[in-house]
């Protein structure tokens, strides 16, 4: 079946602009995660959804970052007033259940470049 998909695959924007990154999880997966991977680093947790609600948003770096999952499926990560330091690959993952032992399946990522 289809895996996790993310659009766009690449996004180039200018400092100060607003961007939206989209994630389509595996059908039926209730949990959805956003991570950010900077160059030379491992993925860093941003936010986790269980259904429609954000169960843990402790990784969002500041109030410029916001994510939604209004119908419990597709999620959008929104970044306001982008800064050059926001440049990274943004990864989305989904899992079938609510347990920490459930495998997280990752999408290919969106590479964001802020000029």
């Amino acid at each position: 079946g289809a895996g996790v998909s993310q659009t766009p695959s690449n996004k180039v924007t200018e400092k100060g602009k607003y961007v939206e990154l989209r994630c389509d999880p595996i059908s039926g997966h209730t949990a959805l995660y956003w991570y950010r991977q900077s160059l030379g680093q491992g993925p860093e947790f941003l936010i986790y959804f269980q259904g429609t609600g954000a169960a843990d948003d402790s990784g969002l770096p500041n109030d410029r970052f916001f994510a939604v999952r209004p119908e419990g499926s597709v999620s959008t990560l929104k970044i306001q007033r982008t800064e050059r330091g926001d440049s990274a690959v943004y990864l989305c993952a989904s899992s079938a259940g609510t347990s920490p032992t459930d495998t997280q399946y990752f999408g290919p990522g969106t590479r964001l470049t802020v000029l």
């Binding site: 895996g3 996790v4 949990a31 995660y33 991570y35 030379g40 680093q41 491992g42 993925p43 860093e44 947790f45 986790y48 169960a55 843990d56 402790s58 990784g59 990864l91 993952a93 899992s95 609510t98 347990s99 920490p100 032992t101 459930d102 495998t103 997280q104 399946y105 990752f106 999408g107 290919p108 990522g109």
Partner: protein
Amino acid sequence: AQSVTQLDSQVPVFEEAPVELRCNYSSSVSVYLFWYVQYPNQGLQLLLKYLSGSTLVESINGFEAEFNKSQTSFHLRKPSVHISDTAEYFCAVTLQGGSEKLVFGKGTKLTVNP
């Protein structure tokens, strides 16, 4: 807070040689442990995981990892590597009974040369 250390950022080896990728973690509570692999131009894939029971876990492509609680380690090994094993490998932990978020190390780039 928990953390993961992968001491080697790059590991070059020759084909058919053995390899060990090191991973140490720090946590005040019990954790679950994972190895993810990222092949060139592909997304992260789960390679293997330790949840409970036998401390030695194996993947379908010949990798194994052993959980060592006293040394807080979860090193990844393969007795004979192939060119196709060239990839970046990430060690990760998540808290037992805690948030489902994964905490990753910085990754180890394994390059297998002919």
